[in-house]
């Protein structure tokens, strides 16, 4: 009796996973294989099957814009993740100190995440434009020498993307952290206070380690948006000035549609995919072993 039910449940579990399995196999793996194949051909606007081996990858490796895109993404990714995690955690920790109007602050910090990247990019582009935005404002009020022209400087433009992205995502980090903080047992705070520990030490040495899960979730969510970074670059700078704010996803999109070069686009996409697997697989392996220990039945 119990045995049959167990078997029934096992079948149910398989059934429940069927949609995900189907999507993973047919859509993800199918598309990936297709992408891989096309990257080995000479396809232009529409796919063909003229096999040329790794030639597209050679072209890619010598493409200035692709190389610049990778560097840009790395700079953006590191700065954005560090800044968003720090700001998000800081806001959550501060809000957690029983501030008045907590829900107002929470909403204010969270609302940017409801805006699309297109909107975010447009708004910030406008405010950072030296002839329209803050620089003009400073000039108008008498600071004629004030400069805030990062948006138009090839060596600084990537930081403006970071500013806009941090504005966009910090609220989400804050929400995740706040959820984590609320799960921290109050006894821990009380005990630590009895011991006379200063607040910052409690936060850094006791609370943050307890929020590992929250940090991991936030980290993964932010990381996915880094690799996928596209709309923001398009709306804010369109990759410019020059190629100073180009990113890999935009490279793929431009070659896919604007430039009608499927083969090179898919070669770039495949390179991204392999890089992601190379980073995620070890992390996942490590993570998987941990949960085995923690939640084995």
């Amino acid at each position: 009796m119990a045995k049959r039910r167990l078997i029934g449940s096992r079948v149910s579990a398989q059934v429940a996973l069927a949609p995900a399995l189907l999507i993973a196999l047919v859509i993800y793996c199918g598309s990936t294989l297709w992408t891989l194949w096309i990257s080995l051909t000479t396809s232009r606007m529409l796919p063909n099957s003229v096999f040329v081996g790794l030639r597209q990858y050679e072209v890619l490796a010598s493409n200035d814009r692709w190389l610049a895109s990778i560097v840009n993404l790395a700079v953006f990714g590191v700065l954005f993740m560090v800044a968003a995690l720090t700001v998000g955690f800081l806001l959550a920790a501060l809000i957690d100190f029983r501030v008045r109007a907590e829900s107002l602050f929470r909403s204010v910090f969270l609302y940017p995440f409801s805006m699309s990247f297109i909107v975010t990019g447009l708004a910030w582009r406008w405010m950072l434009d030296p002839t329209l935005g803050f620089e003009k404002l400073l000039h108008d009020v008498g600071f004629a020498d004030a400069h805030f022209n990062w948006l138009v400087r090839p060596d600084r433009v990537i930081y403006t993307l970071v500013i806009a992205a941090v504005w966009h995502a910090s609220g989400l980090v804050m929400a995740i952290m706040l959820a984590g903080l609320r799960g921290v047992d109050r006894e821990i705070w009380n005990a630590a206070r009895v011991d006379g520990l200063p607040v910052w030490r409690i936060l850094v040495f006791i609370v943050i380690p307890m929020l590992r899960g929250s940090f991991a979730t936030a980290f993964v969510l932010l990381a996915t948006s880094v690799v996928r970074l596209y709309d923001l670059s398009v709306a804010m700078t369109n990759g410019g000035p020059g190629i100073a704010s180009e990113v890999p996803a935009k490279f793929v999109m431009d070659y896919l549609f604007e430039r009608g070069n499927l083969a090179l686009a898919t070669a770039a996409a495949t390179t991204m995919l392999i890089t992601v697997i190379a980073v995620v697989a070890p992390w996942y392996h490590w993570q998987g072993r941990k949960t085995h220990v923690g939640a084995a039945h």
Partner: protein
């Protein structure tokens, strides 16, 4: 074969039945990216003419050429094609032709004698393997120089004709405290300015060698080096706001007299017109040329996916007829700022710049096919990246730029 049979029966049906009492109007869905005020007014000319001829125009406007083309191509590949779709002249629809997804318009081309009424560059641009695959609906010149009469007067300068005069004028504008060159630092406009210098200094020969033949010897020549140096020199005459500006915001600076001039295609005239400015009075238009005028010809076309049935074929035939009517083309161009592809159209009603362009088109020596017509998107794109890098980053020397260009020319596309 079947297609031409269908088409001819459709034409017969059209001729025999008065359009007004047609039972079911020919329904034509057109995907295009003409969404601005001036563009909408222009496309309305075609839509109204089509409806008047007994059809039913179904408008699918999607802002942004890449977005619109992606939607159109995906739908065509996916088996749900629109009746017609807009492309720029050039190689954007090559793959659709190769995959046999487009209907040809050979019959129409022959009936209307396109060999003589269309400029050769435009006819070439829609012809693949001896078949005509698209209908040109407008012609745009890409290398105009627009000048603000007010700004020139303020600076005591005159409208330049060649590059020597250009720098004299730019310096005077700068001295007068104006922005000499209104500019929008988007990659395609950076390429547009480069192209204007290239054809303006090197004529159609250098322009074709560069884009069509991808001649490595050319880019190593002192003449080309001179073009590169001139292009770099222009950078000193733009303002700091250029990188985050749209091209039409730059045009607005010329309209307001804040900036002296702008290099842009003739679609910019729409901006002047909507600001109630008149060509030849409030603003000037010319093409810079050190030797002979070299007018860069591009434009827009309608391509027609293979029809699924006779109803669609009939709608396509009707649409083809409507958009190739000379009077309708002139009315369209008046709104769009373009000139009609048909050389037998009466352009007396158009502005002075358009009439000038119409004259240049009659002379084979003063025109050249635009960049997009000469090189596939992959080459254009790769060059665009290099040009943009060179323009924006002063640490990229002309030597490095030239080496990189030669490198791209060496690749196979």
């Amino acid at each position: 074969m079947i297609r031409s049979l269908l088409a001819s029966t459709a034409v017969l049906a059209l001729l025999s039945a008065a359009p007004a009492n047609a039972q079911t109007p020919a329904r034509a869905e057109v995907i295009h990216w003409w969404t601005s005020a001036g563009e909408s007014a222009a496309i309305r000319v075609y839509a109204d003419a089509f409806n008047k001829a007994g059809g039913q125009w179904v408008d699918t406007a999607i802002a942004g050429g890449a977005n619109a083309r992606a939607a159109a191509v995906n739908r065509t590949v996916g088996g749900d094609p629109p009746t017609a779709m807009q492309f720029n002249t050039g190689k954007q629809f090559d793959d659709l032709v190769e995959n046999d997804l487009l209907a040809n318009v050979d019959g129409l081309a022959k009936a209307q004698n396109w060999n003589t009424v269309l400029p050769a560059a435009i006819l070439d641009a829609v012809t693949r393997n001896g078949h005509v695959y698209a209908v040109p609906v407008d012609i745009h010149g890409q290398n105009w120089l627009f000048t603000s009469s007010a700004a020139l007067a303020k600076a005591g300068a005159t409208q330049p004709k060649n590059f020597t005069e250009l720098f004299v004028t730019l310096d005077k504008l700068k001295a007068a405290g104006l922005v000499p060159l209104a500019f929008s630092s988007q990659k395609n406009w950076e390429r547009g300015l480069f192209n204007a210098v290239l054809s303006g200094m090197g004529g159609s020969e250098m322009f074709t060698k560069f884009w069509a033949k991808r001649d490595v010897a050319l880019v190593k020549s002192p003449e080309f080096r001179h073009v590169v140096d001139t292009y770099r020199r222009l950078h000193a005459y733009i303002d700091a706001g250029a990188p985050s500006r749209n091209w039409n915001d730059a045009t607005a600076m010329v309209i307001q007299g804040k900036a002296g001039m702008q290099v842009m295609g003739d679609w910019a005239k729409g901006e002047f017109t909507s600001a109630n400015q008149v060509a030849g009075r409030d603003y000037g238009c010319t093409v810079l040329a050190d030797h002979e005028i070299t007018y860069q010809l591009g434009g827009d076309i309608f391509a027609f996916p293979k029809p699924k049935n006779a109803t669609v074929a009939a709608a396509q035939t009707l649409l083809e007829q409507v958009v190739t009517d000379p009077a309708t083309q002139v009315a369209f161009s008046a709104k769009k700022g373009s000139i009609p592809p048909r050389q037998d159209a009466d352009v007396a009603s158009l502005d002075i710049c358009a009439r000038q362009a119409h004259d240049w088109l009659r002379d084979k020596n003063s025109q050249v096919a635009a960049n997009e017509l000469l090189s596939p998107p992959a080459v254009t794109g790769a060059m665009e990246d290099l040009i943009s890098q060179f323009w924006n980053d002063q640490s990229v020397t002309p030597e490095v730029f030239i080496t990189k260009v030669a490198g791209v020319f060496g690749q196979t596309f």
